[in-house]
């Protein structure tokens, strides 16, 4: 077994520098690497390019508040007023891309494809300046694999070999970002002892993960609490 376990959060984020490109898993608040984000805020690194589907809400997206982010690559940033302010004032560069394209550019990086053709965005401003090509009578846009220095993902359970299991819709972009950057740092709710996880149930094999640690706490906020009443 090749041991991926690190002893603490500072070891997990060792090598993080200003102006790096980071991938961050999560959809809304679901499955975000809460502990890694908190540590990035503590470290105060700046000039970051962050690839993440969303950008948190005002009091949670602390990286934005502290102006540590130079550029965001996201598909939807609706719930964050500070984001809007920085975007309109030009302090923050924003590249909005289709959600499926974001996922596939991560997966392409993970899988060793330099680029992929997708129909998403053809004929729109998203395709401007990009190569297009016709296949079987339909038009496609060439989208390049991301290049990132670090990938921060969050899983439900993991082991020292770096194997990961996700839970519910907290899975989202996390598996696609594993192995898609030079270094993948996985944080888990529960780091279990080796041999506990059933190899049949592993979502991401440890080969895609360089560092793993158990997060101290998970707030797991709910953005839209919707319920029904019992009859």
């Amino acid at each position: 077994m090749i041991n991926k376990k690190v002893n603490n959060i500072s070891e997990a984020l060792k090598g993080i520098k200003n102006n790096m490109t980071l991938m961050l898993g999560g959809f809304g608040f679901s499955g975000i690497p809460e502990n890694a984000i908190a540590e990035l805020v503590t470290l105060g690194v700046s000039g970051l390019t962050c690839i993440s589907n969303n950008a948190g809400v005002d009091d949670f997206g602390l990286l934005l508040q502290q102006k540590q982010i130079k550029k965001m690559v996201s598909s939807y940033v609706g719930e964050n007023d500070e984001f809007g302010r920085q975007m309109l004032s030009g302090e923050l560069e924003v590249e909005l891309i289709p959600q499926g394209t974001l996922a596939e550019r991560c997966r392409a990086a993970q899988a060793g494809f330099p680029a992929v053709y997708t129909p998403a965005g053809y004929g729109t401003e998203v395709a401007q300046g990009k190569e297009t090509r016709e296949f079987n009578g339909k038009m496609y846009v060439l989208e390049h694999a991301f290049k990132a220095d670090f990938s921060f993902v969050k899983a439900w359970k993991g082991d020292e070999a770096g194997n990961l299991i996700f839970k519910g819709t907290a899975r989202n972009f996390n598996p696609n970002m594993c192995g898609a950057a030079k270094i993948t740092v996985a944080e888990v709710e529960e780091l279990v002892s080796l041999g506990t996880l059933d190899p049949n149930q592993i979502h991401i094999p440890g080969i895609f993960v360089q560092r793993i640690f158990q997060g101290d706490t998970y707030e797991k906020r709910i953005e839209q609490r919707t319920v029904r009443v019992k009859d």
Binding site: S30, M87, P119, A120, Y122, G168, A170, N172, R228, K230
Partner: protein
Amino acid sequence: MLDKTGIAKRIAKEVQDGYYVNLGIGIPTLVANYVRNDIEVEFQSENGVLGMGPFPFEGEEDADVINAGKQTITTLPGASFFDSAMSFSMIRGQHVDLTILGAMEVAENGDIANWKIPGKMVKGMGGAMDLVASAENIIVAMMHTNKRGESKLLKRCSLPLTGVGCVKKIVTNMAVLEVTENGFKLLERAPDVSVETIKEATEGNLIIEGEIPKMHI
């Protein structure tokens, strides 16, 4: 004229047995409430769940089980979770049978605009561009006119596009229309709406052939 619920009820009639369906935010979400209960349909949410159920009972919410609108949901027996790339493989690969989404504008050539208004805060397209570029069967649910009373069914979209030539069918508070090579073909009208009213509210080319039946809701 129909209200939002009426539009949802009419669209629900388009959902057939064995369909996998992706519902957008807003009116499309309501469609799930009116699908016949003698057919089997599975709802997909692009953040990574197939087999979505109703909202959870109070106290049973799970932060790890949400839909694309970030609302807490439940899953039904037979449901599955998956990652974002696989989710969009279902969409791009045309495994999802029907996509229902809202729009700001639709053009007579099937172009759709629903993600950006220049000069206003842009939230992003989310999965809308993937959905409209890929789905074989797209139904748009929207009001026929905007808040200023201007037509949303246009010759050409004025707003930045989400997708080109992709809309097949539109259900509004006034009518059911099909996008054809020659423009919007009027299929049905809302019970108390005249063909004349629909004509006035439609900027794009409107094709009227014979008697236009009333919608059954």
